[in-house]
Amino acid sequence: MKNRYAAAFEWIIAIFLIILCINTKYLSYGSFTPIAAHQKSERTYYYGPSEIADTIKLDGTILYLCRYKEWYSLSIVKKGLLRWQTAGLNIGNKIDPSAPINYSRGFTRINKDLGLNKIYGNASDPEIVKVVLENKDGSDKLQYELDSDRLFVFYWQGEDMLYKYDLLKGLDKSGNIKYETMFLNP
């Protein structure tokens, strides 16, 4: 009998300690779902909550293209050992409504094997229906069809490949170029 009481007592202590551990912030890194990780990333950076315009799912990595008031952002989350956590929050991109297109570009290292190049932005000119990213001779081309949220994102994997593409174009319904910019690539 005495032993049983002792065992029960130890179990109570064990359960109490487990609850205490879960509540301490040491174990509260990360989130159970990718969307929660994204929201936490914004919340703890004192930004948003933004509206998600596009979700891109890669293997163990998710990109959220978002809008919040007059800013657009790209939030990246990745799967850790157990939970999802942020791999980058690119904010601070203000939309200038007088410009046909606003864009940002950058590189994010996700892990040892995966590096993501990305160009993303907003097309304010309502006539632009499609955004095209291409290299100088037009042999390599990425396209993004715009919808009502007006945001676009291009991404590709690889190291130091930010200079793979040279031109960003905004096209109207009939394929006319409404906007074009050339990157100053080395």
Binding site: A14, C21, K40, S41, T44, K69, W71
Partner: protein, 153 residues
Amino acid sequence: MKMMRRGIIIICIAILCLNVVSMWPESKYYDSGLEKEINAGSAKVIEVNKSFKIDNDTMKILRIINTSDRTYIRYALIKKEKGWTLPDTSISMIDDKGHQYQCFGFGSSGKSWGEEGLFQCDPIAEDAQRITMKFQWFDRMNQLSIPLQKEVN
């Protein structure tokens, strides 16, 4: 079963011990070089101990340290949840004469309860009576007015 519950207890205690270590606050002035200057009398300290809200978190301005060419702000940020460190470009100061002061992060340490550290700012003008610390970040904005008269070493 005995092994299992004892195992759980030991692992939990180990995690909690780590947590206690990470709760440990940094030194009063955070930086040992600064502490030397204060002890030598070449830097003056103004105890503030006032706080303001940043969303659900609490920003505590502990003290202002004026050296001959810089102003330092010793702060502690109590966070509701772990995440990004405070974006240091969000912090600036303005005095009662309207002078603006730029601040940037000088050092910070993550804690189980948030983070603490030092901002380095342009030196506060000698004739300033009052300084307003500002948090400005996208659509967020909050501020704290601090009187500067009482200087103790």
